[in-house]
């Protein structure tokens, strides 16, 4: 344990990481369990001459993000499930306008008002497109605070590189908890230069720039869509991230992400003490999803069990990866209930028939 580790709340650590990654603007609207993030930003951003603005709603917030992103400046927002639903139109616009921006959804129990406990039931929304149209979000799912912190700059970098928005899917547990983390150094990339070619900053003698997700002519709109799809293809080729945990000798595999995955590591320890050879595929990018890792596991494991704090959403991607090779049982809890290591162990054993 080195000296530079500090204890910080998840949301605050992510906020600080964003500032160090060069984030200059934050627009958001309070919602539990992530209000500490805007609160942190409201303290910190003025210190670095950045802008914190509490919007009148999530709808306004996401469109402020759109605006700031149009200028090619690093900007982010964060929210929790109902708030992210309200952002769906704006997210689709941002994707369509090919704007780099970072969203954080600290997922809570749903649907509707639900509760404020940790959940993973916004997987579909984040990975398949909760908004309209053929767009995707780069979707990162940190499992520890350290990873959450690291994902922030990764998200900004990828968003800039591919000119596409990135989403970090966390949950209330990750957002609220403290654990020791090492914060990254301040980034000193010249972020402004990156987007000189398209950003809206006044013409000053050059040709005018236009940012839009709009073309009334479907043939041209299709061209735009082809460009998006080409980007998505690149991302699928380059950016899949996955952790394979004790998979070398695994006869069974869990598939889980985020908080659920970290809990499963305890389950796996318990199982292995009983001699059950189980491992874990932990998708780090939910989109692009690590289909290959799942496929590979399906070649040697007796089954792949998706464990989620949801009714079974990632399960569909697991099944797409497994492609019928082995069974894909599911264990999940809903509405903000977090499965305990023991109960998942029991579920595993039941599935094994022991």
């Amino acid at each position: 344990m080195t000296n530079d580790k500090i204890m910080m709340k998840g949301t605050e650590a992510m906020g600080e990481a964003a500032i160090r990654a060069g984030c200059k603007l934050y627009f958001g609207y309070p919602i539990t369990p992530q209000s500490e993030l805007p609160e942190y930003m409201s303290r910190r951003l003025p210190e670095i001459d950045g802008t914190f603005l509490q919007a009148e709603s999530e709808v306004a917030a996401v469109n402020m993000v759109y605006g700031a992103a149009c200028t090619g400046t690093r900007v982010m927002t964060s929210t929790s499930s109902p708030g992210f639903s309200l952002m769906m139109e704006g997210v689709s616009y941002i994707a369509g306008a090919e704007l780099p921006a970072v969203f954080i959804n600290v997922v809570r129990g749903g649907p509707g008002l639900g509760d404020i406990q940790p959940a993973q039931s916004d997987y579909f929304q984040g990975t398949k497109g909760g908004g309209h149209g053929d767009y995707r979000l780069i979707c990162l799912a940190p499992s520890t605070l350290q990873e959450a912190v690291d994902h922030i700059s990764l998200a900004f970098d990828m968003a800039d590189k591919y000119r596409t928005p990135a989403l970090i899917i966390a949950d209330g547990m990750l957002g609220q908890m403290m654990e020791p983390v090492t914060l990254p150094e301040f980034s000193n990339n010249d972020l402004k230069a990156v987007h000189e070619g398209w950003a809206l900053r006044g013409t000053n003698g050059r040709e005018k720039h236009m940012v839009t997700s709009f073309d009334i002519d479907p043939v041209k709109l299709e061209k735009m869509n082809e460009r998006y799809q080409a980007t998505y293809k690149k991302i699928e080729n380059n950016e899949v991230r996955v952790e394979e945990y004790l998979m070398e000798d695994a006869e069974y595999a869990f598939v889980a992400y985020g908080t659920m995955a970290r809990i499963l590591k305890t389950t796996i320890k318990m199982a292995r003490e009983e001699g059950i050879k189980v491992g874990l595929i932990r998708p780090i990018t939910l989109w692009p999803f690590p289909y290959k890792a799942v496929e590979k596991a399906a070649e040697k494991c007796k089954f792949l069990m998706s464990v989620e704090m949801s009714a079974g959403q990632m399960l569909e991607d697991v099944r797409l990866g497994v492609n019928g090779k082995v069974p894909t049982p599911f264990y999940g809890r809903m509405g903000g209930v977090v499965p305990t290591p023991t109960e998942v162990l029991n579920a595993l054993k039941k599935e094994m028939g022991v």
Binding site: P33, M173, E179, K269
Partner: protein, 182 residues
């Protein structure tokens, strides 16, 4: 046992979150793995709040533990809420300044501490939570006073630095009382 799950619970104003945070910080200082997780949400607005600290020799998996190994109850609702969940042989620290009832559990270790009175004696009601923390340190023996001191040094900086001594004093008084009851 290498895995501890401690719940600290009480009114919003009683500094329960801080107890948990100091505890976590101290655990980190000692090279242990640790997570701190608050309960949150409008259960009763302005009512009872709690946090859970998990301390482990290995990387912490779940930051939630079904059955806490220690409970610090700062008020009556906290006692009522967590007494059933506490692990057998577990430790219950009761702030008797705000709790005038008894726990019904008989299979646990109980330390009662009149934290407000002691804090008042020290000269600042606000350190009542540190008194309780002291009792916990002594009773649970998971972290050392030294580590807690270091944690406090990190927390109490700037204008607050002058409060350090008083806080340590409070902790020591709490440890004393607990040692008499164990």
């Amino acid at each position: 046992m290498s895995l501890h799950g401690t719940i600290v619970s009480g009114f919003g104003g009683q500094g329960v979150m801080l107890i948990g945070q100091i505890l976590s910080y101290a655990a980190m200082v000692e090279g242990k793995n640790v997570t701190w997780l608050p309960s949150y949400g409008p259960e009763m607005r302005g009512g009872t709040a709690n946090c859970m600290v998990v301390i482990d020799e290995e990387a912490v998996g779940s930051p939630i533990i079904d059955k806490p190994t220690e409970v610090i109850a700062m008020n009556i609702p906290s006692l009522l809420k967590f007494e059933d969940e506490l692990e057998k042989e577990g430790i219950m620290i009761l702030n008797s300044s705000a709790i005038d009832i008894e726990t019904k559990r008989t299979d646990i270790k109980v330390v009662k501490i009149d934290a407000n009175k002691i804090a008042d004696e020290i000269g600042n009601l606000k350190v009542a939570n540190m008194v309780v923390l002291g009792a916990y340190i002594e009773a649970a023996k998971i972290i050392t006073l030294d580590a807690v001191k270091k944690a406090l040094e990190k927390k109490l900086t700037g204008k607050k630095a002058k409060l350090l001594q008083m806080n340590i004093e409070a902790i020591k008084r709490g440890m004393q009382v607990a040692s008499q009851q164990l």
